[in-house]
């Protein structure tokens, strides 16, 4: 793939790549910009190569995720990747329109699968590729994440109603 075509692909997914980078680092905008720069550098220096053009989005998302994990680890901000099965308690009142705060209450893997499927319109299979887990495991994260998110939304809405 030539450089112009690669540039075109990166431009095409730029906005979505930035949003995903932001989601991968707990919605930290500055960190997301930094991560995206690192990702583009990796790609343009040939450290990350796209083999199948039809998987460009999965490829970019995958690089972003690993770059974000690396950066968070360096900064000591990486929370354990192991999912807790218990639903996070909403100790403080959460605004039902504070979408990011609600998503942050989900275990990390569930957040990622749910965001990829519902926000970025990807399949569970694609999210499994990005997370480098089996389809079955991705499906489990998806189902549990969905269930928990529904509960969290309901709780936040209930809190909103009670507060009003």
């Amino acid at each position: 793939m030539n450089r112009t075509h690669l540039d075109h692909l990166l431009k095409l997914y730029h906005k979505e790549a930035y949003l995903w980078a932001r989601q991968c680092c707990s919605f930290d905008e500055e960190l997301a910009k930094d991560i995206l720069q690192q990702v583009y550098l990796k790609i343009l220096e040939g450290k990350a190569k796209l083999k199948e053009e039809e998987k460009a989005k999965t490829w970019i998302f995958s690089i972003i995720r690993y770059t974000a994990i690396d950066q968070l680890r360096k900064e000591g901000k990486l929370v354990s990747m192991e999912d807790s099965e218990e639903i996070a308690d909403i100790e403080e009142e959460v605004d039902s329109t504070d979408y990011e705060a609600i998503i942050r209450l989900l275990p990390r893997m569930q957040q990622e699968v749910i965001l990829m499927v519902f926000y970025h319109q990807m399949t569970i299979g694609q999210s499994a590729e990005i997370l480098q887990i089996s389809l079955g495991t991705a499906r489990t994260h998806y189902e549990r994440g969905k269930k928990k998110l529904k509960e969290l939304i309901s709780i936040a809405q209930l809190q909103d109603q009670n507060g009003k």
Partner: protein, 103 residues
Amino acid sequence: MENNDQLNRFFEEMKAKDAGLSVPPFPTQKPKKLNPWIPVGIAASLTLIGILVWYEKPVPEPPAEVIIITLQQGENQQQEITIEESTYLETWESPTASLLTEY
């Protein structure tokens, strides 16, 4: 059929909110400007190399190691002695060389 209406609505609203985010511009790679001093430097180096290559150093005279004393007959039938200094004998003829050829 799974009912994801609540989640779809949640994410639609989240996307609408994110639409207000300022996305950083896609980094464009500007062609690197050549430092104007680079070609000047290259030209100067090549000139210097040219000068060094073409400049011929005068070959110093080798020190004289051989003294050639020649006895010649002058115009007035007088014997003249000439003394020369050289690094080597350019011509040297054995006094008996004629014997080899004429014998």
